[in-house]
Amino acid sequence: MSLLSIENVDYSYAKKTTFEKHVLKKLSLKIEPGSFIGIIGHTGSGKSTLIKILNGLLKPDAGTILYKGENIWSKNFDLRNFHLDVGVSFQYPEHQLFCDTVKKDIEYGLINKGVPKEVYESKIKKTLNIVGLSESYLEKSPFQLSGGEMRKVALAGTIVLDPEVLILDEPTAGLDPKSTQQIYDSLKTYQAQTNSSIIVVSHSMEDVSEYVTDIVALDDGQILLQGKPDQVFDNAEKLKKVGLDVPITTNILRLLAKDNPSVNTNIYRYEDTKLEISRLLKDAILK
């Protein structure tokens, strides 16, 4: 049984008006414990709506959502606790900060969850470790921090609740490469510690291919492609048709392969690309 699954979900905005928009069409998705899923899709393909459906913030027009086998829209399901079990960090999560110190802001979710006060400190410490902030930040005002630091604080506010599924909408939008890497590293650390599932929505094929284990490509409210990165990126033509692409490193290798058939074109990570290119260079020198 999957941890969280949605079946044949349909959703439209502004129903029964001239502005009606059918966003999700008969969409089904299964999320297994410990998976790291990347959702890619063009703007307006329904990614953000899908997140809200997964988190129970939006009720689908049709279809079911099961969490540990329970229908989350059945009458006696505790939706509020579900929001905490399936943690979501929306786009620009730093916009949700509101307390005068970082500590209070991270505590906000714990208070809402009703966690006993004695464990606050240990939990916050652990979380700061995961997102890579030092404890000196706790007494600072979140509004004094830089964009990347604010993002980390906001992320800490979600992670501190130990969600079993962690959903992130564009977690690295507008961040520099270093912060991007730090954010993804913290996600990896969190997953290694808790075996939770992580879902990342991203525009960046490079980030997705670098970190995730499964990819779901959305187009017009439906799943276009689904599978391991190599399975998805094998369909470069299909991806390009809907405004997506393969990672830039893969593109480079595929260009090289036009002259040299020995190039392996099914490589998606930076490290592997580096190895492949140095292998090619060595071959060239030997010749």
């Binding site: 502004a14 008006t17 502005f19 809200k52 988190n55 913030l57 509020r80 929001h83 905490l84 943690g87 979501v88 960090s89 929306f90 999560p93 916009h95 949700q96 900060l97 509101f98 307390c99 906000y108 979710g109 809402n112 969850k113 509004f143 506010g157 979600t158 609740l161």
Partner: protein, 263 residues
């Protein structure tokens, strides 16, 4: 939450939609004067016919127009209640200290009709005119004041910006609310102390982001060398057309008829 709620503008292609906003604003003003002038049953009958004709021409569903009087209904009921009780005249019915007079009923009926017609009439203006058009109409109507040192363009710019950001802010509220809900926040308690506490997680980020937006906008405006001292031209300048003249003539004639009937 989207733009449809705010400003109530319902896009359409009727004659009324196509009128110059200035014509519509002035006609609405005239409509209010007409209603103040009316104080007889026959007058209100004519008003009702005129209003009905306008609603039909505007092709806005009458139900939507009727719905616009819902928010002012309590005021109408309140004022007519006191008018019925406190107007002296020929007593129709009395109990304890309350007396209902024929004049009282008449006065309160006229007052209620006046308010209701007024709101319905002005709602036709907002239903058929986009907010940008209304502001540029007001700006153009107020522009003579510029000779007296009133900075109408500044004012219009401010109003336009304020209105422009209503949907953005309401979207932002929804986003912040979702984000806080995802952190276990609960909105909709019954206790007033809890209600106040619930507001903070929304209000603080909202104010913060409003300031951020304001700074961004100021920079953007400055970068484009925006300067009110220069006479600015418009993408869609307001020009009176033949139908504006027709509309003006019809409504003035109607006002004249009411004026004659009432004297």
């Amino acid at each position: 939450m989207n733009n449809t709620v705010i400003g109530q503008f319902i896009p359409g292609k009727s004659v009324i939609h196509g009128l110059d906003p200035r014509t519509k604003i002035m006609t609405t003003g005239l409509w209010i004067i007409i209603l103040i002038l009316t104080h007889s049953w026959i007058g209100f009958l004519l008003d009702a016919i005129f209003l009905a004709a306008v609603i039909i021409v505007s092709r806005i569903s009458p139900i939507i127009v009727l719905r616009s009087i819902k928010p002012i209904l309590p005021i109408v009921i309140f004022t007519s209640f006191f008018n019925v009780i406190y107007t002296s005249g020929d007593v129709l019915w009395s109990a304890w200290i309350f007396k209902i007079t024929q004049q009282g009923i008449e006065i309160s009926a006229f007052l209620s009709l006046r308010i209701i017609f007024m709101v319905m009439g002005s709602s036709i203006l907002t239903f058929t005119t986009s907010l940008t058009d209304i502001t540029s109409g007001i700006e153009s109507l107020l522009s003579p004041l510029e000779r007296f040192g009133v900075r109408v363009t500044d004012f219009a710019m401010m109003v336009t910006l304020a209105i422009r950001f209503i949907p953005t802010l309401s979207e932002e509220i929804q986003k912040i609310k979702d984000a806080q809900k995802a952190r276990g926040a609960f909105f909709g308690s019954n206790k007033i102390t809890k209600k106040i506490k619930e507001v903070f997680p929304i209000l603080v980020p909202l104010i913060y982001s409003s300031f951020r937006r304001a700074f961004d906008l100021t920079n953007a405006i400055e970068c484009r060398c925006y300067n009110q001292k220069i006479k600015r031209t418009k993408l869609n300048p307001l020009i009176y057309k033949k139908k504006d003249l027709v509309c003006g003539v019809i409504s003035s004639l109607f006002a004249l008829i009411i004026l004659i009937i009432q004297h």
